[in-house]
Symmetry: D2
Subunit: 329 residues, 4 copies
């Protein structure tokens, strides 16, 4: 199930230590200008290199295999790949018998009957999100009037994010974070009842991204403690502008034209330098495990651009689906 | 987009004040015993009648049109409907010009160019979840070893739910709530990377249900404030049991066999008896609006069974998809 | 797998002798005028009653459960059913042990482990095509500039169709036929490479209809014996009109604006009054079988309207998919 | 719409003269042995080089980017590409204004608003079927007990195929052909009513392949001229073997265990060396056109392996879908 989308359809492939990873982007309208340099800004935002991110260094250069002709999308699917360069696969041998707590090692082994590639977490690696960011660049061109911006608003429970990360690095531990995504000037009236609401599309994609544990739209969990008379957003003009925005820009699963707002919770990276005591499935005994490898202290640092990408993908698909366009717009 | 599921596929139809509402359940294995009485317990849990729920009384009796033969599923799709009886449609006329804050009136009118049926919120009504509960009854029979139980754990910000509801009724206002869903003995190793993770499937369905504003799995938003060394769940036996369960039973989007735990945030019902000031799109002026009609004070009261239903639907679909079964299990 | 279509999505349900049969039509643009009487002309064309058709008489009246409001589609799915009235189910008991040659009895029993409803062929019955015709009526309104016309051009190998049917009735046997479908003024440039070509969409639907054994577009099988210099259709004007039409209006899986032409082969009804010798799976011996029941001598007589319906369904879906619309039309 | 399949899902990409072409194969069970050499026999059968095929020579070597680990499928999607080497793109410039009769030039230009890559027919090229053959190799491993064999049974209307091709080469023209595909020992009881019958799945895929104009199963178009008493296939043993096989191994859209038989009609290659008179869309005048480039005299020569591939893909998907397996097999 490595594809998502109804019309604008993204297919992802690759393993962390395999030959290449990539993405196929289907259903893209023809005539959209795309150059190799267009991917750079978002790919740079996803890269490691800052404090708190892994030492693995990948050039991440996109190779466009198809779908672009003379600088424009040509109506055929785009296939874009990048080659994995900086792999140290020996780090992963022991995790077959001692699956890392919090990782996919155990479920991958179970589900795929021992055939899964566990090196660098294989197909479960955050590395696979490279293709999402690439697809997001295209998707942003489709919903080009919208301004999508996600940022990390807390890490390890603190809004002083730099300090929280420094502390975690010093403790050789990892920390989680919360990302907020806002879309100004979103396309109005997208989202398809009953089963492809705007929130359904976005949350479906968001929970495909490794390490996400929660999502809330508008006032979110806080809404559960509110009264209706306070939570409701009164309309104040003929465009449907509302005076408050507890709905996060969505009513009945459909965008109402106000700013879209949602937040996602990112768990701390499962790989932590702290020694853990866990089960060895070969010896059938508990034992200590120290995960070496190279890992992100706070994977949430690299995620805002990924959250933007999946938001753009959801919006592009919903825009292309909206059949009201066909007859009435 | 009124269908969901890859193999076990649910299609929903109907409007709140239309002739009938219903559901088609496709992809159900043959040979599952189903009688009309099987739907009763879950449908009763969804019904109004308790304090804090609407005065609209619907018999909600399921009419099975197809898919059952001699008391068993026959391999063909089940179509099950119920007739809307207790409709008072005159209540809704003014909402064309004065869309109710927090409701789908505005977006429905915009998206469907004025052709939407707004009576009782039409296809956006919580009434449409009747079909989800019916499909959930079938889905629970497919994942029959699992024990799914959802309950309201807070309302209006308080764990004393009865008191919170009494207060809201007295104030003629509405309140939200938080529902927790747990699945004991879940099927192990279901969930499909990259785009149909267990969380993606569940959240997609959950956000199809009207009034949901957030979802979190396991430690959820609290995970964002935790260290990896604390959040990770160490394995403690050969079945993959973990000593803690911050993951909520899911790693890498795949169930690990431990209890599945997630929570959803339900906003306060948009219909509240409190007077609101909002925009009149005909007069182009702000005005007061008092929503009459019959409404739930706390729609979250009726939702645990709906959350169970969508969980069962997601699990049934993921079980039937799992191709590992075919070759190795 | 009882649904078809990407945006305009048709879901079919029911068994020949069940309570009701029906169809859910999703993805229909809002604002299309639909009245109950609109279904009559096409449903009448599908009905039995003429010489050569079954004596089973069904009123076939459509009950619209949802999706229409004040005479127009409202953006929500249409659910339309009809009740089975004229059932004689005792005719079918013996076919469990002695599956009728040419029928689905054997495969249904095998696939559904004995739980299938074989009465009147259950979900495999031609009766289920009622829902296709109903969906076709809506689909024709979407592709309203196109004129779709299918007719029976031969029966039992003869173009004197009446005579062929009279002969078959007298022999108490059944006969097949060939239906030709033409679409004048079709929507131009619909069809989606690589896997949803116009022919793929139409043939997929056509082969869902019971009793179809072949389909050919344009010159079809005759093309295999032609030279390229003869088969190619030269363009003769700026609209893309061609002087010949061996392509049947389709190049590269996409409509070129010329008349669409295809033919389908319908086998003789499997139920024939002639005695057959076949295997009894209970006694494990060969024996004679005379199929009673009420059956069509030439099921192809009732099929032109069904072929039109599936053509319209395919066209409607492809029109709503075409993303070129979004940016450039 | 460059993906096909529900569980076993094939996504195709690339243009004839682009950087690379390829395929993503998703939903493949883990643990299937796959080596690079496994693709060779089928890819060789698809290659040019024989008399009657194009002079374009492509090494066609598959590069496996993902999905294989230690010689086995690992549960993640396979991505396999090959690089286009032998391109002469200057041949195609004039076809923008003078679309070649029988080709996709005209529809591609119309549908994609002038942005399509027409070089070598771009995404419409038969070259794109390389990915189908690669996917077919994997699919054949899933349905490994079945023996799928397709062959060219006539060309240019003659069963003396060599002679027909020699004649066409001499005339500098192209010819069509008929391919018959048979599956011995097919999986029994696959095919999903109502909309994913065995014939629907196969025909959908077959009509994705360029140049196909018709398909018939079993007795096919000849059935239209037969009586039911002759066409019906009596059962003769407890496994469901039938004495005749007019059904081509399929009843009610489901395989009955007998040999599957179908034939497809392939039109003559649109590119022919014979001079044609057609419309120039720039000058708005008719003119002569001689298509140079390098082309197949009889593209049907290279197609049997493609027809086998799509048959295997359809079978693999239907096998993995069959939910009867889950509960009863």
């Amino acid at each position: 199930m490595n594809s998502f989308g109804v019309i604008f359809r993204v297919t992802i492939f690759g393993e962390s230590h395999g030959r290449s990873i990539g993405v196929v982007i289907d259903g893209c309208p023809p005539g959209i200008p795309v150059g190799p340099e267009d991917f750079k800004p978002d790919l740079v935002r996803r890269k490691s290199g800052r404090k708190g991110t892994t030492k693995r260094q990948e050039p991440d250069l996109p190779e466009i295999l198809s779908g672009i002709y003379k600088g424009f999308t040509n109506g055929a699917p785009l296939a874009i790949i990048t080659t994995n360069k900086d792999k140290i696969s020996s780090d992963y041998d022991e995790f077959v018998d001692i699956p890392r707590p919090g990782h996919a090692d155990f479920v991958a082994k179970t589900k795929y009957s021992g055939f899964a590639d566990l090196r660098g977490s294989g197909h479960f690696s955050g590395r696979i999100t490279w293709g999402l960011v690439v697809a997001g660049v295209i998707a942003k061109k489709i919903s080009k009037d919208a301004v999508i911006a996600a940022k990390l608003i807390s890490a390890g429970g603190s809004t002083d994010i730099e300090r929280a990360i420094n502390k975690a690095v010093k403790e050789n531990d990892s920390i989680g974070g919360i990302i907020e995504c806002r879309v100004k000037n979103p396309p109005k009236a997208i989202g398809e009842p009953f089963f492809y609401s705007f929130e359904s599309a976005v949350s479906h994609l968001v929970f495909s991204v490794p390490a996400i544990k929660g999502i809330e739209f508008g006032s979110g969990f806080a809404a559960a403690a509110m009264k209706g008379s306070v939570h409701n957003d009164p309309f104040i003009d003929k465009n449907g502008k509302t005076s408050t925005n507890n709905a996060g820009g969505i009513n009945g699963g459909i965008t109402n034209g106000n700013e879209i707002i949602f937040r996602v919770a990112v768990k701390p990276t499962s790989s932590t330098g702290v020694e853990q005591t866990t089960f060895n499935f070969a010896t059938k005994k508990m034992q200590t495990l120290t995960v070496k490898g190279r890992h992100d202290t706070c994977i949430a640092l690299r995620m805002p651009v990924i959250i933007e990408a999946v938001t753009a993908i959801a919006m592009a698909d919903l825009m292309l689906i909206d059949r009201g366009i066909y007859f009435h717009h």
